[in-house]
């Protein structure tokens, strides 16, 4: 048996990240609590370096390695950069929150970095096993992160729910994969496609449904969304920040790898399923969000609605549709991290700032951050010229181009319904009186990062062409 040394270069960012995370793990062991800042800084540096490595690895060529189980294509590079940047934002926003609650431990960062590692593997997966490997690496990290605040009953409950439901979903996903493997005899996504036409249709359909269930759970599409509101609300905001943002990018990648790379020939089948998921997600997410008074819960439902849009782009089955979805996923992650970042900013020891009422009169306390929050909310609602508008319009455009006009109409109508609960928060910020007069206390890095985040939402909204073109070109 000949052992051919695989080409390590395409996996350079992952290898680098793994190495440095292990190093940070060791270093953190020897750090005193008061010098925990070193772990924080090292984590940021690690992410920045990984992002740069991913960026320099960008090329229009598709490279595979490790016996085709690892793919490096333009989409992988871009998404990895996006994931790293978003998680950097997560870490920055989380820092003060963690300090205030006495959970400013190295584990948060290390688990977070391992999660990033998992996401990157998912993004580059070329094989059922790599997809599963990445997914589990991410999921296990997140279960642990949620449960980190051990004395909080609500966090433990959230972790428990997430873990059990996640296990079910993982089991289903594995089951589906095994069925597909059974009839095609291949775990390799690229080979899978060739085998689809000759395989048994019933088994393939079963396999497809189970696989989609796994994806939908990760994304949080209705009816596999039940975990999201509870987990978002139950988790410490520092962790909600994490689970609500970057993993959705990875989930999009997983959906793309499995359905498009692996099962393109079953497009007609999965399109039908995804349409159902998309419509249900947009409708249910937006409608239930209206009844929420807890901001984290509201964002959870809003995420479900956004997921409906991400799914809508993919289900068109066109290159441009994938590009639009990818754009949407990245934009969503930027907006979401900003939104939860605001909650983290306003919170302090003993005060979570996660109710809509807690944002009353924010404009009087801090006009600048009121403006940032307004930009984020307007963007989520899809108000031009903010970034979210372009994300929505590009997905809707592709749906229309694919002849799914009615689906686009559903998207627009539900977005209008959704605009209500976003605007309600804006109204509270600008027109209501503050509940108390406690000034906002936050360190410089979170202020800076949030400002950049908000301004980026506006600036990228004013000049969206470059980012859109980048995403669209990825698939052509």
């Amino acid at each position: 048996m000949n052992f051919v040394t695989p080409d390590f270069m395409p996996a350079m960012p992952e290898i680098f990240l793994l190495t440095i995370v292990c190093a940070i793990l060791i270093i953190d062991l020897f750090l005193k609590d008061e010098s925990r800042g070193a772990t924080y800084m090292l984590s940021l540096i690690a992410l920045a370096a990984t992002a740069i490595l991913s960026f320099t690895g960008y090329s229009q060529e598709t490279v595979t390695t490790f016996n085709d189980s690892f793919i490096l294509d333009p989409m992988a590079s871009i998404l990895k950069v996006a994931i790293c940047v978003v998680v950097m934002g997560v870490f920055i926003y989380a820092k003060d929150y963690l300090i205030d609650r006495n959970i400013y431990k190295g584990e948060y960062f290390i688990l977070g970095l391992f999660g990033v590692m998992g996401m990157m593997v998912m993004v580059s997966a070329g094989n059922f096993l790599t997809v599963y490997l990445g997914l589990e690496l991410l999921s296990l990290s997140m279960y642990a992160m949620i449960a980190m605040q051990r004395d909080s009953a609500i966090a433990s409950e959230a972790a428990m729910k997430y873990f059990i439901l996640g296990a079910i979903a993982s089991g289903m996903l594995l089951y589906g994969m095994s069925m597909v493997y059974g009839v095609t005899g291949s775990l390799d996504l690229a080979n899978l496609n060739k085998a689809v036409s000759t395989a048994d249709r019933i088994v393939m359909s079963f396999g497809l449904v189970f696989i989609i269930l796994g994806i939908a759970f990760k994304l949080g599409a209705v009816p596999f969304h039940m975990w999201m509101p509870d987990v978002y609300q139950g988790s410490p905001t520092s962790v909600t920040l994490y689970i609500s943002s970057a993993p959705k990018i990875a989930a999009f990648a997983m959906m793309y790898r499995l359905l498009v790379d692996g099962l393109t020939d079953m497009h007609a089948d999965w399109q039908m399923i995804l349409i159902i998921l998309s419509v249900l997600s947009m409708a249910l997410g937006n409608i239930i969000a209206i009844a929420q008074t807890n901001l984290k819960r509201m964002f959870a439902y809003s995420t479900i609605a956004h997921v409906g849009f991400i799914v809508m782009g993919v289900l068109t089955g066109t290159q441009a549709g994938y590009g639009a979805s990818m754009f949407y996923a990245i934009v969503y992650a930027i907006m979401s991290v900003g939104g939860f970042g605001m909650i983290a900013l306003l919170s302090r020891a003993g005060f979570e700032a996660d109710n809509i009422d807690d944002f009353k009169g924010l404009n009087q306390k801090s006009p600048w951050f009121a403006f940032i929050m307004m930009a984020i909310l307007f963007s989520m609602a899809g108000v031009p010229p903010f970034l979210g508008f372009w994300a929505k319009i590009s997905v809707l455009q592709e749906a229309v181009n694919s002849g799914l006009v009615w689906l686009a109409i559903v998207g627009v109508v539900t977005s209008v319904i959704g605009a209500f609960y976003y605007l309600r928060v804006v109204k509270v910020i600008y027109f209501d009186k503050p509940m108390d007069n406690t000034p906002i206390k936050a360190s410089m890095d979170i202020r800076m990062a949030l400002s950049i985040n908000g301004v980026a939402i506006l600036a990228l909204g004013l000049y969206p062409t470059a980012l859109i073109a980048l995403c669209i070109n990825t698939f052509s």
């Binding site: 428990m160 729910k161 059990i164 439901l165 079910i168 979903a169 289903m172 019933i202 359909s205 079963f206 497809l208 449904v209 189970f210 989609i212 269930l213 759970f217 209705v222 009816p223 596999f224 039940m226 975990w227 509101p229 509870d230 089948d269 039908m272 399923i273 159902i276 249910l284 409608i287 239930i288 969000a289 209206i290 009844a291 929420q292 319904i417 209500f420």
Partner: protein, 655 residues
């Protein structure tokens, strides 16, 4: 015109000088004194007056060719240019002189009339703005700018009628003027739309050049019937003129507009703005000449206005209202002239009327100042001895108005009557007798007013009488300055304006309608016309009117009361102004309010707000409230939902 300045700079200066004055007096209202306010506005108008004189000389005496240039292109859309531009020719230059002269007189007069008013600076700002708007209207070279000027003068008119904005009747009057003018302007803008549709341009010159070739165009307004497009356009444009120039039945706003201060009654509601309709039709002769239907319509409307509004002047007791009804009647004369294709006569009367009617209004204002703002003529009498200058200038104005031979009103009014006599359009006979009878009526109400105010018993109370004195020089000087053209301008200019070549190339008249061309053969100079006038029917009717007025209001002042009782039915009809106001108030305003109320209650509140907007919002909130309970918090429910979802998807995919 001037060596160092291009013509367009001169025209811009004319337009902008009063605008700058208006802005200074209006925007910086709080920062400037009253003296500064009236100085800048009067300076602005004076500059434009002087320049207007030069422009007039340039066209009337130097024979300059028509100026037609675009100053500024606002936008180009689908090949249609929306521009600001000037078209200046003999008609425009004459209008410029009339407008600027009357405006200047009114500005001066205002210093005296508004002396004690807290809104002094605001008033100056408004009248200068009006002057600017009127210039824009008369100097326009396209329909868009015409419409701008049209609306701008309407706006200022609205602001000035409601100048005493704390007075209920003034607010009612300006709302009424606004609404009635909406009706007219609606027709006007539809007419402009028709022009755009037919000619695909808004430029005068292009429209006029293409008018003949489009004469046969038709439009199907009601399915199955073809209407001449030109007729439709002309009628719509004339509806606009009816609103602005207060022709029956859109005249109702003008008497009420007397709620405004007297100077603007003179400037806007007598001399200039209300003649915009006359000017517009004259400007559009290449279009109107193509439609005999429209001309007939104009003729009849004008005749009705001329006669029946004159009747109402006889029974009014408010000094300004008498003059207002007289204005309506005179506008009717001008409109009749338009209908008879005697456009030059219409504009000629417009000019002479501007001078003597402004004079009469300002004289009325002078009386009002003397009487300490009492306007009821029943409380006046014998003012001759207290206010000699006002008396003599009023006499000149009155004689000019009734067409006393030799004065300017005689030349213009007699020309109109003669022109109508020669017209062969349907309705011309009716119009002829209406304007002829109008002479008698005019003499009657004018002299009635004159006798009651200046002669006879002194009916004012003791206190008023003690303070009765002649008005200050800022009031009397404009009176004298206006009295001069009221006497001489008619005889001086009739030869060239009416029968000369002054309007050659400006006014187009079809050979078949050319009544003035026929009249020209009978015209032997102003003196000849005066000599002929003394023996003609109108003169006899006028003398009859004077005699009746003298008999009724000087000799036997008790007779009018008896007549009133014997003919109470007719009196009541006239006292109710033929029921136009009541009709508008009850049927139109009431009906509109009713429909509005219905639409508001049913359409808006119930269907749109209630069912569609709030209803859907409530439904969503209700649904939301229900399904949020699906989120029970129990783990096994969640897992169950996942399994159910999976089964459902399996079923869908497999089948």
């Amino acid at each position: 015109m001037f060596e160092n300045y291009s013509d367009s700079q001169v025209y811009l200066a004319i337009v902008l000088a009063p605008l700058i004055g208006s802005i200074l007096a209006g925007v910086f209202n709080a920062y400037i004194s009253r003296a500064v306010a009236h100085t800048v506005t009067i300076a602005g108008v004076a500059i434009s007056f002087v320049l207007a004189l030069f422009v007039f000389k340039y066209f009337a005496f130097d024979g300059a060719p028509t100026y037609n240039e675009t100053v500024y292109t606002w936008l180009v859309s689908d090949g249609i240019h929306f521009e600001i531009g000037f078209m200046v020719d003999n008609l425009t230059s004459m209008m410029l002189v009339v407008v600027s002269f009357v405006s200047l007189m009114v500005h001066l007069y205002t210093i005296g009339y508004m002396h004690d008013d807290p809104g002094y600076k605001r008033f100056f700002s408004y009248i200068s703005l009006f002057t600017f708007s009127m210039y824009m209207l008369v100097m326009s070279n396209n329909f868009l700018q015409l419409f701008f000027g049209w609306e701008a003068v309407g706006l200022v008119s609205y602001l000035l009628i409601g100048f005493y904005y704390k007075k209920e009747s003034a607010i009612f009057a300006n709302l009424k003027a606004f609404l009635v003018n909406r009706v007219g302007d609606f027709g006007f803008i539809l007419g402009i739309a028709g022009i755009l549709m037919l000619f695909n341009t808004l430029d005068y010159a292009e429209v006029f050049a293409a008018a003949n070739s489009k004469a046969g165009a038709t439009i199907e307004l009601i399915p199955g019937t073809q209407w001449s497009m030109i007729t439709v356009i002309c009628l719509l444009l004339f509806v606009g003129a009816m609103g602005k120039s207060a022709q029956v039945p859109l005249h109702v706003w003008l008497p009420d507009s007397m709620e405004g201060p007297t100077p603007i009654s003179a400037l806007i509601h007598a001399a200039t703005m209300v003649t915009a309709g006359i000017f517009m039709v004259t400007r559009m002769t290449p279009l109107f000449e193509l439609s005999e239907t429209a001309l007939s319509f104009i003729l009849v409307i004008g005749a009705i206005t001329a006669l029946f509004m004159g009747f109402l002047g006889i029974i009014q007791n408010d000094i300004k209202r008498v003059v207002a009804y007289s204005t309506l009647s005179q506008l009717g004369y001008m409109t009749v002239a338009l209908g008879a294709s005697a456009y030059s006569a219409a504009v000629f009367h417009l000019m002479t009327h501007a001078f003597f009617k402004a004079l009469l209004f300002l004289a009325a204002g002078s009386v009002i100042i003397g009487m300490h703002h009492i306007q009821d003529i029943r409380k006046m009498g014998g003012l001759k001895k207290y206010m000699p200058i006002t008396y003599w200038t009023s006499l000149i104005g009155t004689l000019a108005l009734i067409g006393f031979p030799g004065l300017s009103g005689f030349f213009s009014k007699d020309s109109i009557i003669e022109a109508v006599r020669l017209s062969h359009l349907p309705g011309a006979t009716f119009a002829y007798y209406a304007v002829l009878a109008g002479v008698f009526v005019t003499a009657l109400y004018s002299l009635r007013l004159f006798f009651i105010v200046f002669h006879g018993e002194e009916r004012m109370d003791h206190h008023t009488k003690e303070h009765l004195k002649e008005s200050p020089w800022v009031v009397t000087v404009p009176l004298v300055l206006l009295a001069i053209p009221s006497v001489i301008i008619g005889g001086l200019t009739i030869s060239s304006v009416l029968y000369g070549d002054y309007f050659n190339g400006v006014v187009f008249v079809e050979e078949a309608h050319n009544v003035l061309g026929h009249l020209k053969k009978e015209f032997h100079g102003p003196m000849g016309m005066v000599l002929h006038g003394i023996t003609a029917t109108p003169f006899i009717l006028m003398l009859a009117g004077i005699a009746v007025a003298w008999l009724l209001y000087m000799k036997n002042p008790s007779v009018p009361g008896k007549i009133k009782q014997s003919f109470s039915l007719i009196y009541n009809i006239m006292d109710n102004k033929y029921g136009f106001d009541a009709f508008n108030e009850k049927v139109i305003a009431g009906g509109t309010r009713g429909i509005g109320h219905l639409l508001s209650k049913v359409g808006d509140l119930l269907i749109i707000d209630g069912i569609i907007v709030n209803g859907s919002a409530k439904t969503v909130a209700w649904v939301s409230g229900i399904i949020r309970h699906m989120q029970t918090g129990y783990l096994y429910h969640y897992a169950f939902a996942m399994i159910l979802g999976m089964i459902a998807l399996l079923v869908i995919v497999v089948y």
